[in-house]
């Protein structure tokens, strides 16, 4: 099944933030050569959340690394907010990563020597934003994930769920056009995990394009579309169907 279609059909087509066309990637040589992705195409529009599911080795993390300009594909075209990734210099790709893309990883990647607010403000500091702007944006992002009071703490002072919310706040600052999340709930309990997903969902609702790699169907269900990767190709796609009655009762 193809993954070419985008949007929900309401009004004008939303802008495509991530476009991947016939993207292929293989690792290794000779007999040990593994095709992580085979001519995969995927578009993600502004305001859209797409979940990528698949077993280990299905290519889902490779897809995310390519979308985030961290790995160069062997073939195919990738653009982020209209900026082509291939052919860009290492410096150009670094600029895309820093200015357009927010990353949320399983292992948080917070810097232990920096306070929570310094961690969150870091991408803006690197962009050359003023200290005051970076701080106020960081405070806003921390408030959005319910961590407003913890700005002065260090990552080691926080629980796993709190650290993950800080990592998400860091991905939110500067209104990243594209947010990439790789198993963002890791080993969090289900209630805390839902809170993390709810933040990602609201980032999409506020206009970011969000790509979530997960093996958890409950988390994937927060997305507008779910693509299933197997052996490096998109096998099937599920999308939110109809808001018509799901259960006989409706929330009051």
């Amino acid at each position: 099944m193809s993954a070419q279609t985008v949007g929900d059909g309401s009004g004008a087509d939303p802008e495509i933030v991530l476009s991947m066309r016939d993207v292929s990637k293989a690792y290794g040589d000779g007999d040990g050569r593994v095709h992580a992705l085979r001519r995969v195409s995927l578009d993600v529009a502004a305001g859209e959340m797409v979940a990528v599911m698949g077993t280990s080795g299905s290519g889902k993390s490779t897809l995310l690394s390519i979308a985030g300009a961290m790995v160069t594909p062997d073939a195919g075209e990738v653009t982020v907010a209209g900026v082509p990734i291939e052919g860009a210099s290492a410096r150009g790709r670094a600029r895309v990563r820093r200015e357009l893309v927010g990353f949320v990883f399983q292992d948080f990647n917070l810097i232990p020597a920096l306070t929570v607010i310094e961690n969150v403000a870091l991408p803006l500091d690197l962009d050359g934003a003023s200290r005051a702007t970076a701080r106020s944006e960081a405070r806003r992002a921390l408030a959005a994930v319910g961590m407003r009071e913890r700005g002065k703490d260090f990552p080691d002072d926080l629980s796993g769920g709190q650290r993950q919310r800080v990592a998400i706040a860091r991905a939110m600052v500067g209104q990243r056009r594209l947010v990439l999340a790789d198993e963002p709930t890791g080993a969090l309990d289900s209630v805390t995990g839902d809170r993390v997903l709810s933040v990602l969902r609201s980032m999409a609702d506020q206009g970011s394009a969000v790509v979530l790699v997960t093996h958890d169907a409950r988390h994937a269900a927060w997305a507008d579309r779910i693509v299933h990767l197997a052996d490096g190709t998109i096998l099937e796609e599920a999308r939110a169907a109809r808001p018509e009655q799901l259960l006989t009762g409706e929330p009051r």
């Binding site: 409950r218 269900a221 599920a238 939110a240 799901l246 259960l247 009051r252």
Partner: protein, 196 residues
């Protein structure tokens, strides 16, 4: 869904007339399972016959109130301390269909699984969206929606597991027809039978 047990539980909370019982039932379950008033009265009649419920004389508003007898109170209390009866696995339509697909070499079981998974995921998306939009405003509805989301997740995990076993060659299409032993799942009990 045991309407009988639910009505007993509600009556343990105090006497009520038919329409009050129906309203209380729908309030407590988020309105997910609508109950018609005829069903309420037939159930009450049966409970009265079994000596679990008794009715009062009609009041000024000509409403007949129902209340629990001692046996009814006991029955209501027992319900909370006993597990809900577990359904027989033979009634799982998806399992039945995929088991049949595996037994027929000409059927592309992987494709059957894919179609089922996409449909379940799509339903989970709809449920999750409605659940997220409702927040915790309606806690009864949210609780029932959560139950459905978790059950659907279990189905997706089972489908993934089965697809992986099929892909690994752990399940051989058509092999069941030659199996020496079959397992019967009738009545929720597993019984091994040797085949001649």
């Amino acid at each position: 869904m045991s309407v009988k047990q639910a009505l007993l539980a509600l009556l343990a909370d105090g006497d009520r007339y038919g329409y009050q019982l129906r309203a209380a039932f729908e309030e407590a379950t988020g309105g997910v399972w609508p109950l018609n008033i005829g069903q309420v009265y037939t159930t009450l009649d049966r409970l009265e016959r079994d000596g679990l419920v008794s009715r009062s004389e009609a009041d000024d508003a000509r409403q007949v109130h129902y209340g629990l007898t001692d046996a009814g109170h006991q029955e209501a209390a027992t319900w909370w301390t006993t597990p809900v009866e577990l359904g027989s696995p033979s009634r799982d339509d998806a399992a039945l269909k995929i088991a049949l697909a595996v037994s027929m070499p000409e059927v592309d079981t992987a494709r059957v699984i894919q179609v089922q998974r996409a449909a379940v995921l799509s339903r989970m998306q709809d449920l999750t969206r409605a659940r997220h939009a409702s927040g915790d405003r309606d806690s009864a509805w949210a609780l029932v929606a959560d139950a459905m989301i978790f059950r659907a997740e279990a189905e997706v995990r089972w489908l993934d597991h089965t697809a992986a076993r099929l892909a690994n060659g752990d399940i051989e299409p058509g092999a069941d027809a030659r199996a020496a032993t079959t397992f019967s799942l009738a009545d929720g009990h597993v019984a091994a039978e040797s085949r001649k």
